[in-house]
Each structure stands twice: as C-alpha cells, then as structure tokens.
Symmetry: C2
Subunit: 445 residues, 2 copies
C-alpha cells in the first residue's frame, strides 16, 4: 500500500492535500490529486517530489476506473452525488475509500460486499459531519465509562467569520460551499427536548433560534439542524430526554435570514426564465404577488414581513441590494442561485480575512446523585482566505484517518462513520498535537 | 388495430373503462384492463363481451413487455413515475400511448424516435391537465382567428364537493388522489400580472388567495398554481401581460389550510420514528418547537399563527382532531401521511355524496379598439361517490382521444399534449353531445 488518490482539488481540499503530501514524503507514499480542473490541482500540489496532479473526468466511467485502479486508497471530495460512482468502482477494484460527506443509503446497500472484501469505506470524516462525531463520542464514552447517565446532549457548530474580520451588517462571510449557505436548513428540523419530539418546518426555523453562551465568546444564535435524531442510535443515546444539533450564527443573523426565506429568495425549485432581463427590485417585487400596497417594493416587503421599513432587518436586506435597480446578471436562474450570486459579492472572505469555526458540545448527566454539565468548546480562526479554519478542520480529520489506514492502524472493515474509539482517539490526539483542542469545563448543576 | 390495453383500474379509471368497453363493442375492438389488483380490474370490467381484466405487475419488465406487446394502443393510468417504463416499451414495440399525466422531460427525450416510428404519444389528456388545455385552446384560437389580441388569460379548476353534499366545516371532500390533496401547492407558484412575474412561495401561497366570481355559483377562493408559465409557449401567449392558472376552493378553505402548512403538517420530507406512539396532540405540540407558552397546545398553535383560540381557523383545526388525545395509527409516518390519514377519515365522499368539478377560463382581449372579456365556465356534479364528475372528466377526454386514435382520425405523430385543433375539436364536440359543455358569456369591459 503506497498509492493515495485524492479526487477533487476545490476550496476545501487545500489542507488535506498539503497534509497528505507531507505524510507521503515521510512514509514513502505517493499522492495523486485528480480534478477536472487540472490547473487547480496543479496549483495545490505544486512541484512536489511525493505527488502529482492529473486531469480526471469523474463522470466518465472509463477514465474514472482507470485512475482508481492504480490507487490503494481513494479519498473523494467530489460533490455527494458523484461519490456513489467512485464507491462502486472502489468496491469492484478492492480499494479503500474515505470521504467527508454524509454516508447515503446507496452506500449502506454495499455494506455486506465491502465487509466481505475487508475494505474500509468511511464517510463523515470532515468537520460537521466528522470532527463533531469524534469529539462528542470521546466524551460521551468517557462519561458512560465513569458511570454517568446522560440526560442531555447539545451539539452546535458554525462556520463563521472571525470577529476581527467582521465588517458587514450580516456578520457573515462565506468560508465554505456558497450553495449550501443558501440552502441551509431546508426541510424540517428535528430534535428532542423534555423527552418530546420537536419538529420545526423551514419557514419557521430561523425565527425560532435560541441564544447560546459559547465559552469565552459570549452569546451566539443557534438554529436546529435537520439531522439531530439521525445519530441518536449510533451515539448510543436512544433514550436521552434532550438531544439537539444546531448551527451557530453571529447575533442578528437569523431573523434577517428568516426574512429572505419568507420572501422566497432561497427557493431552488424553479428557474426564472429570462432572469437576466429583471432588476433585483423587480425580482423582489415578484415575490409580493397580489399583496396590496401603496408604496415602494420595500414597503411591500416590510408589510409581508410584518415589520417597519426602519427595522434592522429591512436595512440588512437593502444592504444586500435586493431593492436595487441593477440588472440581475444570471440567465434563467433560480432565486437561490441569484441569492448565491449576491452573497458571493457581498459576503466574500477577502484575501486577508480570517474565518472562524466554533464547535461546542454540552453534555448533561447524573452521577452519584449529582447532576453535571460538561461543556466542550473548540474555537479556531483561519490565517487568511486560503488557509481557512474551515479547510483545516474539514481536511485534517480526513487526512489523519487516511494516514491511519495507510499505516494499517485502522482495520475495521465495512461502511462506517467515525464514532468508534479506534478512529477518534488517534485523530483527536494528532489534532491536539497540532494545537487543535477542545476546552472542557465541568460544573455541577 | 383492434386491441386496447388500459393499465391501471383505480378510482379515476371507472368512467374511462366503461366508455372504452362500450366503444369496443360498437367498433369491433377488444379492451384489456390490467392491474396489480386483479379484483379491482375484474369489478370494473365485469362480465363483458368486449373486454377482460388481467393481472399485471408494472414494475416487472418481462410481465409488462409481454402484455404491452399484445396491444395496439396503450392507455396508462399508472402513477407518473411508472409511465416512463411503459413509454419505453411502447416505443420499442411500436405501440401508441395515451396518458392523463403531465408529460415529463423523460418523455420529450424520446420525441425523435417516436416521430420516426410514426407513433402517437400523448399526455395531459385528463381534466387538469387535459380538458383545461382543450377548452382554453379552442377559445384562444377562435379569438385570435377573429383578430382579437389577448391581454389576459386566467384559468381556474377545482375538484370540490357539491354544495348539496357539503356538510363539513372545511367545505371539502376527497374526490381524487388524497396524497395530492395534501401536497397541493408545494414549490413556488408562478404567474404574470401587469406584465410582471409573480412568485409566491408555498408558505405564503394559501394566505394570498383571490376571491373569484364563478358564473352562476358565487364567489370562490383561488390560489395560484405552480405551472401557470409552463404553457405560455404552447398556448401561444408568450407576450401576454396577464397569465394565471389557479385552483378553486370553497370559501374559508385557504386560510385554514394555510394554518396546516404553517404548523408543518403537510411536510413529507421525513418519517417520524415510532409515530404510532404519539397522540395527535403530541405531534401538534412537537411543531411548536421552543415557542414559549403557558397554556394548552391549542393556545401555542394560536400563538404561532397569530390568531385567537376562538377563531374559525382554530375551530377547523380542532374539528380535524389535531389536538385530540387519540393515538396516531400509522407507524413511522411523515406528517403529510398522517394528515392524509386524518383527511381520509374526516373528508370522505360518502356513498351518496356528489362531487363537483368547476373549470372557468377568463379571456380578456382587444378587438377593433374595444376590450372584451369572455368567461367560459363548466360546472359538473357527480352522481355519487363512485360515479364522480372527477372520474368522468379525467376519463372521457382520454377515452374519446383513444377512440380517435383507433379510428385513424388522429394522425399527428410524436409526443404531444392536446393543444391542437385535430384533438380538441372532436373531444369537445363529443363531450358536448354528452351534455358536458362550457357556458360562455362575453362582455365589453
């Protein structure tokens, strides 16, 4: 085993590629970085003795198979819908596979064959999902081993802008996939509180945020994720009376974003024919439908949102330019795509801007008739717009796991996510060596 | 050509099957009705000299092909996702194909081959889509032929309960696919008014209904459909300043349905694990999330809807039983599925109940410097819960078109919808002979 293939050289691949190249030289491995954008791959690999960049078309069956056939371990950073093609090839050609994406049903249907061939297929190895599983499971298992009985588990993550680089009224900049920023929260958020289910539909989600104290950072807004209940079983929390996973935002974000949802700007379900002939103001007006109004589009929007035109929310919307007379540049685009274009222009991470990732877990448990709360927090700032905290925290858990597979230290075959000790112990230990560590505080409650 | 295959013997197939059996005897044809529920097919065909019922598994490639191979014309009433399988077989085996469903992109990709083989593949031959296209195009073309210039086209359809059988506070009963009743309107409604696009997201759609005068019937509520702009081109209305298609409901329906949407009851995106352990009251409570409240679940719901607990809307919700302490009977069901179950119990069309279909088109146009409005209205009541207006108006346009294909009167090959004269003239003429006719009134405006 000495050949590693990384498929995908996009924004989130930088830290992973650099880590794997370094490790390759130390261990006598060779890294191939494949992307349909050969220049992007070349730029990330550079002239390196232990790696090279190649062109690859992941949708071309022949090309994909040929490249995968030459590897021992494949790391796929492709968009989720393409992973399954890579996974099928890896199964047929008997290659190990790691990804940072959610493990889909399509993957689990291969489980038996993967196990029979003693292959390691592991997903959810990035930040969220990924590091959240590892850091939470380490503490959950420790609490259980010491006889604690869990009564609540809350887990929050946010990909944010660092306060020192925060210079816009939304207090948000784009440090990850902008499409996912726009579509975040679509569906129904689900969690458990006081032993009862809670289901929040998308159109009410961002108005039902909670304020949460982040250790050492003050108060942040948190809205509930779709997937809180998904891990109930794999975390071993089937009977816990409180279980919530949420997304962290700076204060003032959620109710303004809620306005964009209520207006209709996050809808990706239909293309607007000839959108390039509309101004932003005309598009915003279109969402008013038959709402009766006397005045401007802004007044109409304030009316459907049931707020004053002087409100903070309206001024944030105005700052984005949704009332401007400028022409929309995209042709036949969905509202979500048009909003994405706006945000890329208004919320860019400028070259010297620092992003910030916050992850905080809160564990409540009973032990010896006492109640405790353990709060475990990671706050990490990026260096600049290329060397982001986001890219590091997505890439390093994946890279460290890859190293473990190559070194034969990870041996559990089958389709898995990193909720077991063999994985999380070594990953968390190496992250800590790099200075990436959670701060834990315990209090009696 | 003498063998007709009807695939699907469900609720909406009755009128079609009876019509085709009658015509078969008159014309020396033979009708085969195939369904996976053989008893349902047998019950509809009865002991008939010109037809028979057979068992068929539409998802079994061999079984499906074998049955289709024996037909000359195939009429598919399968759920939309199965049509494409039937269509591919029809293409390979050179059979004509008619359906009442929307023509999907998958169909259009077969266009060239269908045309080369001189086959007739026609979809949207039911009520809506179907009769709406035919009746609208007949009038649109007549107005244009007489030199009129269209300035507005509004087209409304509703599958309702007849006033004489209306005995529930929602003024609605289920006369068609209950799943579609629950999911109606999901996505973004689109129309054109005053030469401007209007886009209404689902969570505001039912609060933005319009009151429309239906000829001879009084005022009804209408909400906009997703698809108003879809037919702009095929109707020849590319530059019309007002274009809307909408759905008709009895008064008082829309804002109460809007409440169900706002609560979250129409969401089909996630299954509730162990939903059979919850009461309706507990499920409704789950949708409250973290909304602060002192009192009952009903008070909480009134609060998020921003209405009083004494309001008409709350009393309609209560009548449905969403605050009741009864256990939900469905296991691991989505909210939408649970709501469907409620509605099947609360809104059934009882055996002697009559349904009612309303279709109304409004055409505004200029001719010789005068402005006119032509209003064209069809109101049809069913006989009872089996012999519904809905089943007749879905089945008869399809049946008449099938007769025309069998008789060689319809010859345009390719993939089409019934927007051209060759089809709509004969269908509308025969419907009129049966007493199914629109009432037209013209006024200067």
């Amino acid at each position: 085993m000495n050949k590693i293939l990384i498929i995908g050289a996009g924004r989130s691949a930088t830290a992973l590629i650099h880590y794997m190249l370094d490790e390759a030289c130390k261990n006598g491995w060779y890294v191939t970085v494949a992307d349909s954008d050969l220049d992007a791959a070349k730029e990330k690999v550079g002239p390196h003795p232990c790696g090279r960049a190649i062109w690859m078309n992941a949708t071309d069956d022949e090309n994909r198979k040929e490249i995968i056939a030459k590897a021992d371990l494949v790391i796929s950073l492709l968009p989720p819908f393409l992973h399954i093609l890579v996974a099928k090839d890896c199964l047929r050609l008997s290659k190990h596979l790691l990804t940072a994406s959610y493990v889909s049903q399509g993957f689990y249907s291969m489980e038996e064959e993967v196990r029979e061939k003693a292959l390691i297929f592991m997903g959810e190895l990035g930040l969220d999902p990924g590091l959240d599983h590892m850091s939470a499971m380490a503490r959950l298992n420790e609490i259980r081993e010491e006889g604690g009985q869990l009564t609540a588990f809350r887990s929050y993550t946010g990909g944010l802008v660092s306060p020192e680089s925060d210079d816009n009224p939304w207090h948000y900049k784009i440090s990850w996939n902008p499409r996912n920023v726009v579509l975040a929260g679509q569906g129904t958020a689900q969690y458990i509180k006081d032993d009862h289910y809670k289901f929040i539909p998308y159109h009410r989600l961002f108005s039902q945020f909670e304020l949460v104290d982040i250790q050492g950072m003050g108060q942040y807004e948190v809205y509930a994720n779709r997937d809180s209940l998904l891990y109930r079983n794999s975390y071993g929390l089937d009977d816990i009376p409180e279980l919530i996973r949420g997304t962290i935002r700076h204060r003032g974000f959620c109710e303004a974003w809620d306005a964009l949802i209520k207006i209709g700007y996050t809808n990706a379900d239909f293309p607007i024919l000839n959108s390039e002939n509309l101004t932003y103001n005309q598009l915003t007006e279109a969402f008013l439908g038959n709402t009766p109004r006397d005045g401007s589009v802004k007044e109409g929007i304030a009316k459907i949102l049931n707020i004053s035109t002087d409100s903070e929310i309206i001024s944030k919307l105005e700052w984005l330019g949704i009332f401007s007379r400028k022409k929309i540049s995209l042709k036949d685009a969905t509202p979500a795509k048009i909003l994405e274009e706006i945000l890329l222009e208004k919320w860019p991470l400028k070259e010297q801007d620092k992003d910030m990732v916050i992850m905080q877990h809160e564990f409540e448990y009973k032990k010896n008739n006492k109640n405790y709360r353990l709060t475990s927090t990671l706050v990490m700032n990026g260096e600049n717009s290329t060397d982001t905290a986001m890219a590091k925290l997505v890439g390093l858990p994946l890279g460290i796991t890859a190293k473990m597979v190559m070194a034969g230290k990870l041996t559990t075959p089958g389709i898995n996510i990193p909720v077991f000790k063999e994985v999380y112990e070594l990953v968390l230990a190496e992250l800590e060596e790099m200075g990436i560590a959670f701060k834990d505080s315990l209090e009696e409650i």
